[in-house]
Structure formats: structure tokens, C-alpha cells
């Protein structure tokens, strides 16, 4: 009896280790995460609109149907990204995700405070290479550091009423997301 309970205790401890390691390994093992889904639909380093979610088809689960969405799937290995997103009339936000769908930065139109959301996205190494005087002269340039080389920029524009969806989509169509080769 004591022997059996020792075996069970061992199984519980081992089971705990199995549980924790599978939870930690899940983001690496997942093949249907947001980035993998969008990799089939979007080019690299360009902003493209996503089709609106419907009952038949949704790119990702739990998408807000009141928003027009555009995605820039980025790869910073050949340079930094320059992003410029015009604001729609109602509400616009830009969210940055790592390769593993962690939202590391988000900004909305009011926080940006201008007619467009303009920022530079780079890796910490590329940021370190930006000449210091350039940093000062371009003080109004917002620089975001990406923790991963690849990831997603998701732009969302609200259509407060269904009839305003076309307006929101038009606003997002003006988004520019392009790579800027690093000056040597």
C-alpha cells in the first residue's frame, strides 16, 4: 500500500513537470497561431487589408467586426520599418505583436496626437546604430524596438456604424509600411 502511494506520488510530481513543460512549449509548437495564419495571406513588409470576419470565414477567432483591419507582417532582418498610418474619423489604433502574438506596444490616434500615426520599428541592435545627432534632430520620430526580428503590426480603424465601414477601410488603405535599408 505504501509502495503504491509512493508510485502515485512520483506520478503526480512527474505529471506536474510534464504539464508545465507542455504549457511552456506550446507557443513554439503551435502551427495555427496568428502569425502562421497571416503568413499564408499577407506579404512581408507591406500593409494589406484583411477581409472582414463573417460567420462563414474568420481569419482569426474573436475579431471585432466593427473594425476595418490591416496587417503589416514584418521582417526586420534587412532593415528598419517605417510605418505611416493615416487616421480615420472615429478611432484608429496600431498594435505591435511579436512572432508569438505577444502585444508589446499599442498606440491610438489620440496618443499619437497628429493627423497620422508615424513611427519607426527596429530591433534593439538597429536602434543602437542610429546616430545620436539624428536622434535629436528627428525628436518627433517615435522609435519602437521590436523584441523579435519578425512579427505583426495590426492597424484597426473603427466604423461606429456599419455604413461607415467603407470610410474606415479607405483610411487604412493609405497605410504605408516599408523597409528602410540600414545606411552603411
Amino acid at each position: 500500500m505504501i509502495r503504491l502511494s509512493l508510485w502515485i506520488l512520483g506520478a503526480l510530481l512527474l505529471g506536474g513537470i510534464v504539464h508545465l513543460s507542455t504549457v511552456l512549449a506550446m507557443p513554439q509548437a503551435a502551427t495555427q497561431d496568428a502569425y502562421s495564419r497571416l503568413a499564408k495571406l499577407t506579404p512581408v513588409n507591406a500593409a494589406v487589408p484583411l477581409t472582414a470576419p463573417s460567420a462563414q470565414d474568420t481569419t482569426m477567432p474573436f475579431m471585432d467586426p466593427a473594425f476595418a483591419v490591416a496587417v503589416c507582417r514584418y521582417d526586420l532582418s534587412s532593415g528598419a520599418i517605417k510605418l505611416s498610418a493615416p487616421l480615420s474619423q472615429a478611432y484608429t489604433s496600431v498594435t505591435f505583436y511579436t512572432r508569438k502574438s505577444v502585444a508589446y506596444y499599442a498606440i491610438n490616434d489620440r496618443a499619437a496626437g497628429r493627423r497620422a500615426i508615424e513611427l519607426d520599428l527596429m530591433t534593439p541592435e538597429q536602434h543602437a546604430q542610429v546616430p545620436e545627432e539624428e536622434d535629436v534632430t528627428a525628436a518627433d520620430r517615435l522609435i519602437i524596438e521590436s523584441p523579435t526580428t519578425t512579427g505583426l503590426i495590426v492597424l484597426r480603424a473603427l466604423a461606429p456604424e456599419p455604413s461607415l465601414m467603407a470610410m474606415a477601410r479607405r483610411a487604412l488603405a493609405g497605410t504605408q509600411c516599408r523597409i528602410e535599408p540600414v545606411p552603411q
Binding site: 509502495r3 508510485w7 502515485i8 512520483g10 506520478a11 503526480l12 512527474l14 505529471g15 506536474g16 513537470i17 510534464v18 504539464h19 513543460s21 507542455t22 504549457v23 511552456l24 506550446m26 507557443p27 503551435a30 495555427q32 497561431d33 496568428a34 502562421s36 495564419r37 470576419p53 463573417s54 460567420a55 462563414q56 474568420t58 482569426m60 477567432p61 474573436f62 471585432d64 467586426p65 466593427a66 473594425f67 472615429a90 478611432y91 489604433s93 498594435t95 505591435f96 505583436y97 508569438k100 502574438s101 505577444v102 502585444a103 508589446y104 506596444y105 499599442a106 498606440i107 491610438n108 489620440r110 496618443a111 505583426l152 495590426v154 484597426r156 473603427l158 461606429p160 456604424e161 456599419p162
Partner: protein, 192 residues
């Protein structure tokens, strides 16, 4: 022989316990730092780099992109205030006031996060299009059959999920208290 049988038993039991626990936590959407107000639960940390390993694993498995903390916060409801499951064959009323936010949206999904087909092509409301009563209060009926006023069709599915998203809001960024409310009440009216 006994040692061999014992270790086989232990290894099989360990695999069952470990994988079973992972399956249960990931399908139920377990995460730390939950903020519950009435029937509504939000995980504000899931929209930041402080996201916990369970939420990370869940979003990797489902493929969803959590709403960023600088953007807003999403509250999920799978039951009403009394704990009844949100059954599409019943009529529920969502009523009251919302916390401060520049915009909000309410959306109805099935349990997997897909929109639900219906004849009016309505999947939710935004704060701009809702019909309100005098004091800014509102009531939305969620059910299979058309109702006057704000009607959100549930398509008669077995289990639906309501998601309340607050955009440009101080909730969840500065504080984690339930005093921030009030979130709208959810109550079951009738079942067919």
C-alpha cells in the same frame, strides 16, 4: 518485475496527469490576473509583455491576437450574472451603464470565437449606434427571435460568448479593482 510494472504505471499516469492538466487549462482559457465584474472577466495583462505562460499558450493554440493594453480591454462573458450558461435558445437582457471609454463594442461569438450567422447580418453593437434611454442607460436583448429596440440575434446556438471591448479606456491600465465598474448586468428572461 514489480519495479518494472511500477515504473510503467508511474510514467503512464504522469503523462496522463500532465497532458490532461495542459488540455484542461488551455481549453478553459486559464490565465492569471483576471479582473471580474459581474458576469464579465478581462485579462488586462494578456495585452502586454507581462502576459503569463498560460495565456501565451492559449493564444498560440487558438490563433487569436489579444487586444493591446494601449488600445483597450476586452471583457468576456460565458454566463449571466446568476451563472446560467449563455444559451442561444434563451433570451438574455444586457442592461445598465458602461465604464468610461471613448468607444465600446459588444460582439456575440460562438464558443470558438466565430461570428454567428443570422438574417439581419448583425453581430454586435457599438457605443455610437446603440439606442439609449433618457439617463444614458440602455438595454440589449440577446436571443433567437427579433425584439423591438436593440436586438442582438444569437442564432439559436447552444453556447455563445459575449465580448465587451472598451477602447481608449483607463480601465485595466492604471488599476485592477472591481470598483471601476459598473459593467452592464446580464440576466436571463425566458427560454424556448
Amino acid at each position: 518485475m514489480r519495479l518494472f510494472l511500477g515504473s510503467c504505471f508511474t510514467l503512464i499516469l504522469a503523462a496522463a496527469i500532465g497532458l490532461g492538466a495542459t488540455w484542461v487549462t488551455l481549453t478553459r482559457g486559464v490565465a492569471f490576473g483576471a479582473m471580474t465584474i459581474g458576469a464579465w472577466t478581462a485579462w488586462p495583462k494578456s495585452g502586454s509583455v507581462d502576459i503569463d505562460p498560460y495565456a501565451r499558450a492559449t493564444i498560440a493554440r487558438t490563433g487569436e491576437l489579444p487586444i493591446g493594453t494601449g488600445d483597450g480591454v476586452a471583457f468576456y462573458a460565458r454566463t449571466d450574472d446568476a451563472g446560467n450558461a449563455l444559451d442561444g435558445r434563451c433570451t438574455f437582457v444586457v442592461s445598465g451603464m458602461t465604464p468610461a471609454a471613448r468607444y465600446w463594442t459588444l460582439t456575440l461569438y460562438d464558443a470558438q470565437g466565430r461570428l454567428v450567422a443570422n438574417t439581419t447580418d448583425r453581430h454586435g453593437f457599438t457605443s455610437a449606434e446603440i439606442l439609449r434611454e433618457a439617463a444614458g442607460r440602455f438595454a440589449i436583448s440577446v436571443g433567437p427571435r427579433a425584439r423591438p429596440g436593440n436586438w442582438l440575434p444569437s442564432g439559436g446556438i447552444e453556447q455563445f460568448v459575449l465580448v465587451w471591448r472598451l477602447y481608449d479606456t483607463p480601465i485595466g491600465v492604471a488599476s485592477l479593482t472591481t470598483k471601476e465598474g459598473p459593467m452592464p448586468a446580464v440576466s436571463r428572461k425566458s427560454c424556448s
